[in-house]
């Protein structure tokens, strides 16, 4: 019995159940929500089991599953789990649980479809984090875009259609480059060995000329860069995040963006280490530009969601910097930063959504001081805002510090400039805090309700996790490092046979 295929299939099964029960006339309105919650709880249990199951075979990889899928093309439904994917899965499940508990209960129109799409997205993301057959990875990668597109189209805000199409064109279009890269790698391997396979571990050993490996690496890099996002290809992100429904923003910022960082580590770094080393200076530069440009733009926003979206670009610039410092410390920093960013930005989007639900505006000036009327919401918001600012003791600080530390040893100059991003981060975070929470409260006709205890306890879990990440990141740092692609090759042959 293996937990990995179940992890991928359970949300899909949940989605189908919701879709089916939605056809019944007698379903209660909160039915789909309850089923989603049950599915995610089941997923959480599965993940617990997968985490503590113990390794069934030697090697650093924790778990493995494979069955043939398309034999004529050598495509295998192969899932492997290492520390990196496991930590990403935890982030995915926890954040989506929080997101479902807090934001989706009151979806009014076609709640069933909404939840089915949400679960389908989660399933695609889980698959992306686990797949080690390149084709399967690509399949999941593309698959998770479709439900997000519909979430945006159906439940987004005023400008949603433009945002949805922009999102899809950018991510799917760049995905085609990855398709070519995957095929290139497979065909080179095929011509060398005569074996048609999409297996990650076999392809990691493909001998490549420097030029080819650079080209293939770029083919992988560009779609990941679009997803992360890196600055010249980030233009889809602010629109998409702003227009998405709250749950969509949380899933997008907290989880989907991480697939970009995950992909860079798993595929760029592990498959083309040597090309990455040659490409690192340019990538570092792109990361730096992302940090400063994103932060600069965030300072100028007056829409809360847009501000958070731009701050994401800045934070994920650090991830980029960490990955392409090509050192274990930088990598650990990048992973911590991804986890912390997922939690803090996810939290911020939940707060922004809660504000928008209550006040029907996202404009910082119109919202004006909430502390008086909603002290609990405001204090949580304050917490996430200063977490994203990078205050010591919280996860983001640990990540950013490690990244800067690793960057310093590569190029002190870039590290100094990147530190500027932290200063800008305090500017926009404090702008958010001052404008939304601390400003004198504007007179409002209708009374607003604050978060109740249940909601506070869920957000409390996210906050605790951020504190743990900040105070004692060591176990996660050592645990979540990606396992090398080459070690299990002898092993995987045995497993496959």
């Amino acid at each position: 019995m293996n937990a990995l295929p179940a992890l991928v299939c359970v949300p899909l099964a949940g989605a189908s159940i919701i879709w089916l029960t939605d056809r019944l006339p007698a379903t209660r309105r909160s039915g789909p929500w309850a089923i989603t919650l049950m599915t995610l709880t089941l997923e959480l249990l599965l993940l617990l089991w997968a985490s503590f199951q113990g390794t069934s075979h030697q090697g650093p990889w924790l778990n493995h599953f494979s069955i043939p899928w398309v034999p004529p093309l050598g495509i295998v439904f192969r899932l492997d789990m290492d520390g990196l994917s496991l930590s990403m899965l935890w982030l995915t499940i926890l954040l989506s649980l929080a997101c479902v508990l807090l934001t989706t209960r009151h979806i009014r129109d076609s709640s069933g479809t909404f939840h089915a799409l949400l679960l389908a997205t989660i399933s695609g993301t889980v698959g992306t984090f686990l797949a080690t057959d390149l084709f399967l990875f690509f399949f999941f990668w593309e698959l998770m875009l479709v439900p997000v597109f519909f979430l945006l189209c159906g439940w987004g805000h005023e400008n949603r259609y433009r945002a949805a199409i922009k999102f899809f064109l950018f991510t799917q279009g760049s995905g085609l480059l990855m398709l070519l890269s995957i095929l290139g790698l497979v065909i080179i391997n095929f011509q060398e060995t005569g074996i048609l396979t999409f297996d990650y571990f076999v392809l990691a050993n493909t001998p490549l000329s420097p030029l080819l490996s650079m080209l293939l690496m770029l083919g992988f890099f560009i779609p990941f860069a679009v997803k992360l996002p890196v600055v010249p290809v980030h233009v889809w992100l602010p629109d998409t995040h702003t227009q998405a429904p709250t749950a969509g923003s949380v899933i997008l910022a907290g989880i989907l963006l991480k697939t970009g960082g995950y992909g860079m580590i798993r595929f760029n770094l592990m498959l083309f280490p040597e090309a990455v080393e040659r490409f690192a200076p340019y990538a570092t530069l792109l990361g730096l530009i992302g940090i400063l440009y994103g932060a600069w733009l965030a300072c100028a926003q007056s829409d809360i969601k847009r501000l958070i979206a731009y701050s994401s670009i800045s934070h994920l610039g650090f991830v980029m910097l960490g990955i392409f410092s090509v050192s274990p410390v930088g990598l650990q920093g990048a992973i911590i930063q991804m986890l912390a960013h997922g939690l803090s930005t996810g939290g911020l989007f939940i707060i922004a959504g809660a504000i928008q639900d209550r006040l029907h505006t996202r404009d910082i000036v119109t919202i004006g001081g909430l502390w008086e009327s909603m002290p609990r919401l405001s204090s949580v918001g304050l917490f996430f805002a200063i977490a994203s600012l990078g205050i010591p003791g919280l996860g983001n600080f640990a990540g950013e510090f490690l990244v800067l530390f690793a960057t310093w040893s590569v190029s002190p100059f870039i590290a100094i400039l990147a530190t500027g991003g932290l200063i800008l981060a305090s500017v926009y975070s404090l702008k958010l805090v001052n404008g939304v929470f601390l400003a004198p409260s504007s007179s409002r006709a209708e009374p607003v309700s604050d978060f109740h205890a249940g909601q506070m306890s869920i957000l409390g879990i996210l906050m605790t996790l951020l504190v743990i990440l900040g105070l004692y990141p060591q176990p996660i740092m050592t645990f979540s490092l990606p396992s090398p692609a080459t070690i299990t090759t002898s092993n995987s042959g045995k497993n496959a046979s």
């Binding site: 093309l73 399949f139 199409i165 799917q172 070519l180 095929l183």
Partner: protein, 488 residues
């Protein structure tokens, strides 16, 4: 001499007999219902016949007219299934709506299928040309059939008549030139005569190719398809988008065998492929009518198919097999859904903005439509994703980088207009109603359901469609024939 070599593959035989029976029954008793049943029965029988291997007969080597290999049988089965689908779609439309009986419609559809099947099986210029002409003439009749409702049908048929006549003439002239160079009517690309440098051989191949590309609506020869498809009724537009293309494409593959295209055609082929992909997709961007958009998208898909055709290698045969199936299923599905919204007066709701809010009024059809469009755009979990994946694989294997760039650019453009339709379907306000009675809806709904199933199942388990149906190479064909009677 030709008499010696007459051998009809089973499906062709069944189709011919069925056509004659249909003609006879029409002379005895005119009844749309009877004609349609007879036509459908013939098509189903012929489809079943494609599963039986062709009999091995002693043949005069160069004079054989037909050859039935797995490739021909596969494409014939696709053609016959598509034609049956079109039959089912137009059944109620024609038999109930028109005042007078519609036997001609069934007859012409059957003839069209016969023509396309003949092209698929032929290995000689003569039956190939006959197949092309039977199909074209049947199409003219079918397109005019709508003229009872609107003048557009007449106009479209006229356009098709003239343009297709011209292209047939070019094709015929090319065949004549080719005969003058090689002295044989065997339907295969002949390298003979190219070395002498007279240019006649080159002119012959180019003329034959022009004729083929016209029927295939590859880009410099694509002008007719938009107007003709718009003018025709919805099922016939679906027929035009699918059946002739499969037939001609299958013949094109047979013409070259699956061997590398000769060098002097390399630039021409690349140029045509790039023009077809980009032209089709760019044209589709500015269409407001769904039928015209589908016509453009069919042009673009021919471009993708030509990449597979132009890239012989390990992936080629699987690619062509899968892509034809994917394209056929998704296109027929789209047209079935459009047909579901044709009003009882025969009015088409093909303006794209009419499709607003479909998700709210007809969720099943909207989901099916989305599946079809995603498949055409090449997005998982649909069969079109695998098809496009294979196209990229075969192109990459032969290192056609420029073509792959065109593929990517084209796909991104295509994504925009397909998504635009899906986006419109999710907008809340609506104007579309299903205009037909329950019985019709049931047939159309079940057709749509089966096609959607194919699109999804093919997208998740594509190995069903990958059993390496290689077109027999001219060399193996010659070998096979040689084993009976040596070449003169």
């Amino acid at each position: 001499m030709i008499i010696n070599g007459i051998f009809l593959p089973f499906p062709l035989f069944v189709l011919s007999v069925g056509t004659m029976l249909l003609l006879a029954s029409v002379t005895l008793h005119r009844s749309s219902r009877l004609s349609f049943s007879l036509g459908l029965l013939t098509l189903v029988l012929a489809t079943v016949m494609t599963y039986y291997p062709a009999p091995i007969m002693p043949l005069a080597a160069t004079q054989t007219l037909f050859f039935a290999d797995t490739w021909a049988n596969y494409t014939a089965a696709l053609i016959l299934l598509s034609a049956s689908c079109i039959f089912i779609l137009s059944w109620q439309d024609v038999t109930q709506r028109s005042a007078r009986s519609a036997d001609e419609y069934a007859l012409l559809l059957l003839l069209g299928a016969l023509g396309a099947t003949a092209m698929v099986f032929s290995v000689n210029y003569m039956p190939f040309f006959l197949g092309v002409e039977i199909l074209s003439i049947a199409l003219i009749g079918l397109v005019t059939f709508r003229s009872r409702h609107t003048q557009k049908g007449l106009e479209a048929a006229m356009k098709y008549l003239i343009l297709s006549g011209v292209s047939s003439a070019i094709l015929l002239f090319g065949i004549g030139l080719s005969y003058s160079v090689t002295g044989s009517l065997v339907f295969e690309f002949s390298t003979a005569g190219h070395e002498t440098g007279t240019g006649i051989a080159a002119a012959a191949s180019i003329m034959v190719l022009s004729g083929i590309f016209f029927k295939l609506s590859a880009v410099p020869f694509h002008m007719w398809i938009l107007d003709v498809m718009e003018g025709a009724s919805v099922p016939i537009a679906g027929f035009i988008a699918v059946v002739p293309k499969i037939g001609i494409f299958s013949a094109l593959v047979r013409y070259f065998g699956s061997e590398p295209v000769t060098p002097f055609l390399h630039n021409t082929m690349s140029a045509i492929i790039i023009l077809t992909i980009l032209g089709g997709n760019l044209l589709a961007l500015c269409q407001t009518s769904l039928i015209r958009l589908m016509a453009c998208s069919s042009i673009a898909h021919v471009g993708y198919l030509l990449i597979a055709f132009y890239s012989p290698g390990h992936f080629q045969s699987d690619t062509m097999v899968l892509y034809l199936a994917a394209y056929t299923a998704a296109t027929l599905g789209t047209f079935s859904i459009i047909q579901a919204f044709v009003s009882p007066e025969g009015l088409q709701r093909s303006t794209i903005s009419d499709w607003k809010g479909l998700f709210f009024t007809h969720p099943f059809l909207a989901v099916a439509m989305t599946a079809m469009l995603l498949s055409l755009a090449g997005i998982p979990p649909t069969i079109g994703f695998f098809a496009k994946f294979e196209i990229a694989a075969s192109g990459l294997e032969q290192r056609h980088y420029i073509l792959l760039t065109a593929l990517i650019v084209g796909s991104i453009i295509a994504l925009y207009y397909y998504l635009n339709i899906i986006r419109l379907m999710t907008t809340p306000n609506t104007s579309l109603n299903i205009g037909q009675n329950k019985k019709t809806n049931l047939t159309i709904y079940s057709t749509v359901f089966i096609l959607t199933l194919i699109v999804f199942v093919g997208g998740i388990f594509p190995s069903f469609f990958m059993n390496s149906i290689h077109p027999a190479l001219p060399s193996t064909r010659a070998e096979y024939l040689q084993s009976h009677i040596p070449l003169p």
